[in-house]
């Protein structure tokens, strides 16, 4: 099975190399029957190539897949950190820490809950908090006995999650510029909304209403949240 994953990864890597300059490929069409025949899990079949790389790292400690993940995400994580004013060296420390954690935590990646990009974003964000701010990152722990579990997901949840995360990516790009700007300052520069207001020289209430408008669109588009 690991052989098949490698073959697929390599084939798709050529796609990702070609489009490296422009927008990355979000959907890669792979014949699902073909993959089913070689015995890949249904989950792996439906996820995008980045998700399959993470699954390959988790299931077979696949270094080729890990390298693919690195080639795809490491330069973006570096760019992402430098938005925050970090030096190249600091940003590369964050990249290294993030990838050590990606390797260690790959088994916790749940394609029903997050896209590869969102999962890696969270790991990079936490590495940045850890190394640059030198703080802990408190997070809800699903193994906690006092964690209130969700309703069990249907087997089709993975499809639904994938469809929605793709829609969400397009959707973020299509948000009005002023709402996108607030989100970018928050995520790229780690600015709390109060500082976003200061930086843009606009009232706090205006920032809050932009956040609410963006969320309202996300809600109306994606329902049930």
């Amino acid at each position: 099975m690991s052989v098949d994953v490698d073959t697929i990864s390599e084939r798709q890597n050529s796609v990702s190399k070609r489009s490296q300059v422009g927008k990355p490929p979000f959907s890669v069409t792979v014949s699902k029957e073909g993959l089913m025949e070689v015995g890949l899990k249904v989950e792996s079949v439906y996820r995008d190539e980045q998700s399959r790389w993470i699954v390959a790292v988790a299931e077979s400690r696949d270094k080729k897949a890990f390298k693919q993940l690195f080639n795809h995400f490491a330069p973006r994580i570096k760019g992402f950190c430098q938005n925050n004013g970090s030096t190249s060296d600091r940003a590369e420390e964050v990249v290294q820490e993030a990838f050590v954690n990606i390797w260690r935590k790959a088994n916790l990646f749940d394609p029903k809950k997050a896209s590869a990009g969102a999962w890696i974003f969270a790991i990079a964000r936490n590495a940045r908090i850890d190394l640059i701010r030198k703080e802990n990152r408190p997070e809800a722990d699903t193994t906690d006995p006092f964690f209130e579990q969700n309703e069990p997901e249907s087997p089709l949840a993975v499809l639904e999650a994938e469809r929605k995360s793709k829609l969400l990516r397009d959707f973020v790009r299509d948000l009005p510029a002023e709402q996108q700007q607030v989100l970018k300052l928050a995520f790229f520069e780690e600015k709390p909304h109060s500082e976003v207001a200061e930086e843009l020289g606009i009232p706090l209430g205006t920032v809050k209403s932009r956040i609410r408008l963006a969320f309202k669109r996300i809600r109306s588009e994606f329902g049930e949240i």
């Binding site: 927008k23 400690r61 270094k63 390298k67 995400f73 490491a74 973006r76 994580i77 570096k78 760019g79 430098q82 590369e92 990249v95 290294q96 260690r104 935590k105 088994n107 809950k113 997050a114 896209s115 990009g117 969102a118 890696i120 974003f121 969270a122 964000r125 908090i129 030198k134 703080e135 802990n136 990152r137 997070e139 809800a140 722990d141 193994t143 906690d144 006995p145 006092f146 209130e148 969700n150 929605k164 995360s165 969400l168 990516r169 790009r173 989100l183 928050a186 995520f187 790229f188 780690e190 600015k191 709390p192 909304h193 920032v207 809050k208 956040i211 609410r212 969320f215 996300i218 949240i225």
Partner: protein, 220 residues
């Protein structure tokens, strides 16, 4: 658990983006441990973060970074996610989530409560955050806390019992977010003590002891 008071969107955005400092983040994560509604929105925000990361401009890396990463890898199986949690008696009794107990689990039998007066006790959580103070509070059943306000923001997450104030009824899992100098007078439910996490701006440090003593009781 019926949760009626949720995280504000601004606070959830600050937490998801990583902008929120550690003290406040404990309250957000404690609420998320109890609230699948806010968790769903949090997951969507991480997708937004993922979308922005995926679309961000790549930066060239030094040639040896991947090599460095490989050298740090543990070659064995994945090594996280199988930790065995301690059985913490007080956490079970009060329904306190791991994100809070992780800060306090040194003694699994009892919490080191310290009296604040008027029957109210606290345990302060040791964090690396100098801008906010997080503490567990125990307020006796039926207690009417005097009118008070806080400097800046206050977040309260209830684990057991509950209270009522001018803004509504709060029970297990609920989060209360107060801003500025809004005054409130929480009235704890009669049936049981209220155990909650309260996060406030780190207090101003007065050098003068008399001034410090003059701070109101719940001027925390």
């Amino acid at each position: 658990m019926k949760i009626t008071h949720h995280l504000s969107e601004e606070l959830l955005l600050d937490y998801s983006s990583g902008a929120l400092s550690e003290g406040w983040s404990i309250a957000v994560a404690a609420h998320l441990s109890k609230c699948s509604h806010c968790r769903a929105l949090h997951a969507k925000l991480e997708e937004v973060g993922g979308a922005l990361l995926t679309d961000s401009a790549p930066e060239g890396l030094s040639y040896d970074i991947f090599e460095n990463v490989l050298n740090r890898l543990d070659e064995g199986g994945a090594s996280v996610g199988n930790e065995v949690r301690k059985n913490i008696e007080w956490a079970r009794r009060y329904g306190i989530p791991a994100v809070v107990t992780d800060y306090l689990a040194a003694d699994t039998k009892k919490l080191p409560w310290k009296s604040l007066g008027l029957g109210v006790s606290q345990v302060v959580l040791e964090t690396k955050d100098t801008t906010a103070t997080a503490r567990l509070l125990k307020i006796p059943a039926g207690k009417k806390v005097p009118h008070h306000s806080h400097n800046g923001r206050e977040l309260t997450v209830i684990f057991s019992g509950g209270f009522t104030d001018e803004t509504g009824n709060y029970g297990p899992g609920d989060i209360q977010e107060i801003h500025g100098n809004a005054e409130h007078q929480p009235w704890v439910r009669e049936e049981e003590d209220c155990i909650c996490l309260a996060v406030t701006e780190a207090p101003l440090k007065f050098s003068n002891v008399a001034v410090r003593l003059a701070q109101p009781l719940i001027g925390i």
